[in-house]
């Protein structure tokens, strides 16, 4: 049987390469932006900050999508499904490697953005801004908020991937025992349900972001966010259990 370490490495390699390619593209976009701004004669100490922070969200979204594709390919390709491992181990390692690579990607982005912000901060009125630094208690609240936001970000991505897998695997499972005609009907029903769920999820996220902003600006209790995180974790576990059952019993690989 394949060990966890080997499985982790094998499933991580492509994802790591993809994340690095994405970072390289982001870097190129940032450099091109800086050159363009310099040519226009509008370069300042904060240009780097705006360029890095302006480009950061797009690769983040693309990264989540690329990783989602990788996750789903694993379940239908013999190259992965023939590995001598239990489905539970395959499923959890697949999600874990995606999460680890997303964290790596995000850390690199965060470091680059921090450097850019620091340059802008210290070269353009940083000393005067230091005078307006919040008191120590507020900093403690900030750390608590930061931890909550990071965990929320991770759990939200896990929820997105696990929901995509849930829909994908349910659809594949249906195809194993329904006639072609009914299979199409079931797929349409599933897609409608998924669109509905996506809209609900989007609403939830938008509502969450609005709520987070409200709390951030009104110094309210951050502990409430953990309730949402726990709720999402429960959904991930339930979806995960169903996904693994689908993999074990019905989901086949694409034929040779």
């Amino acid at each position: 049987m394949t060990s966890f370490g080997s499985l982790f490495k094998a499933m991580s390699r492509d994802k790591f390469r993809q994340m690095n390619q994405l970072l390289a593209l982001e870097l190129i976009a940032t450099v091109v932006t800086l050159i363009w701004v310099a040519i226009k004669g509008e370069f300042s100490s904060s240009t780097l900050m705006f360029a890095t922070m302006g480009w950061a969200p797009l690769p983040s979204v693309v990264g989540v999508i690329i990783l989602a594709f990788g996750i789903e390919k694993t379940y239908t390709a013999d190259s992965f499904r023939l590995m001598p491992v239990e489905e539970t181990k395959l499923y959890s390692t697949n999600l874990l490697t995606s999460l680890v690579n997303l964290v790596y990607f995000t850390i690199i982005q965060a470091v680059v953005c921090s450097i850019a912000v620091s340059i802008a901060f210290f070269s353009d009125g940083g000393a005067s801004m230091m005078g307006n630094m919040p008191p120590a208690r507020a900093m403690t609240d900030f750390v608590g908020m930061l931890i909550a936001v990071v965990v929320l970000y991770l759990i939200l991505n896990l929820l997105i991937w696990s929901t995509i897998s849930f829909v994908h695997l349910i659809t594949r499972a249906a195809s194993s025992f329904l006639p072609k005609m009914r299979q199409q009907v079931v797929n349409i029903v599933i897609y409608v349900v998924v669109i509905f769920l996506t809209l609900r999820l989007s609403g939830f996220i938008i509502h969450g972001v609005a709520w987070v902003s409200r709390v951030a600006f009104s110094n309210n209790d951050w502990s409430q966010i953990w309730v949402s995180i726990v709720a999402m974790a429960v959904v991930i576990l339930i979806e995960g259990a169903i996904n693994v059952i689908c993999l074990k019993k019905w989901v086949e690989t694409d034929a040779n």
Partner: protein, 236 residues
């Protein structure tokens, strides 16, 4: 002689269509077995059921193990590498195999690759059909397992490549391992087969020794196989 594969009462349906029914098959260790049948007879499906890539009803035992995850440790299947992007270099695929299959023998792969003239620096997209098939054979046979499943290794490739692949099969299949080769052309492989298994009418129609067929019917394997479809020979 011990049995490497035992299939009992296996049935498989897809989209409410019965593909295999009441399949019973036992293969002893150390044999080269031809899995024959028309296109769409269910040869690939049977192999996929053995590996656990498809799920049917019935019992499949490979080297004493029954769960799909355990069976996969004892079976090497000629999968078509669809999990890798076309830009993946062969060396990267080899490295993946080395990582995930503890039984993958790199030295054995290198010997096979040298024999089949495979260049590991190439990308998957750069391989011709014949070269890709050779690469798949090399990966499959480089694992040290009890049961090898080669799914139509000769389809669409030239005669020189076919000869090379057959030579590699003869040379590199371990003595005590069993090799199941599916094909619908019998001529190329008839000379190396110890037994044939014919999938017909959704089940195993024939499972006989190659020499037994030659001695008892006076027919060559190819003629015997064709006669099954002409109604000239009553199968078991």
């Amino acid at each position: 002689m011990t049995d490497v594969l035992t299939i009992e009462n296996l049935s498989y349906k897809r989209n409410q269509k019965l593909i295999l029914a009441n399949v019973d098959l036992t293969l002893a260790a150390g044999k080269i077995v031809g899995l024959l049948g028309e296109n769409g007879a269910g040869k690939t499906t049977l192999m996929r059921l053995i590996t656990g890539s498809a799920q049917g009803n019935g019992t499949i035992t490979v080297s004493g193990t029954t769960t799909p995850a355990q069976r996969k440790s004892h079976v090497s299947f000629s999968e078509q590498l669809h999990g890798f992007s076309k830009s993946t270099k062969l060396a990267r695929v080899v490295s993946f195999y080395q990582l995930v299959y503890p039984d993958f023998d790199l030295k054995r792969y290198q010997d096979l690759a040298a024999f089949l003239q495979i260049n590991d620096d190439l990308k998957l997209s750069a391989l011709s059909k014949g070269m890709r098939e050779k690469f798949i054979i090399a990966l499959t046979l480089a694992r040290q397992v009890e049961l090898y499943l080669l799914d139509e290794p000769f389809s669409g490739i030239d005669s020189m490549s076919r000869k090379k692949i057959i030579s590699s099969i003869i040379q590199w299949t371990p003595e005590n391992a069993t090799l199941l080769i599916s094909d619908h052309y019998v001529t190329e492989i008839a000379s190396v087969l110890d037994e044939i298994v014919v999938v017909k009418d959704q089940t195993i129609a024939v499972h006989r020794g190659a020499d037994e067929i030659r001695n008892q019917t006076g027919l060559e394997i190819e003629d015997y196989y064709e006669s099954l479809y002409e109604g000239g020979v009553q199968h078991d």
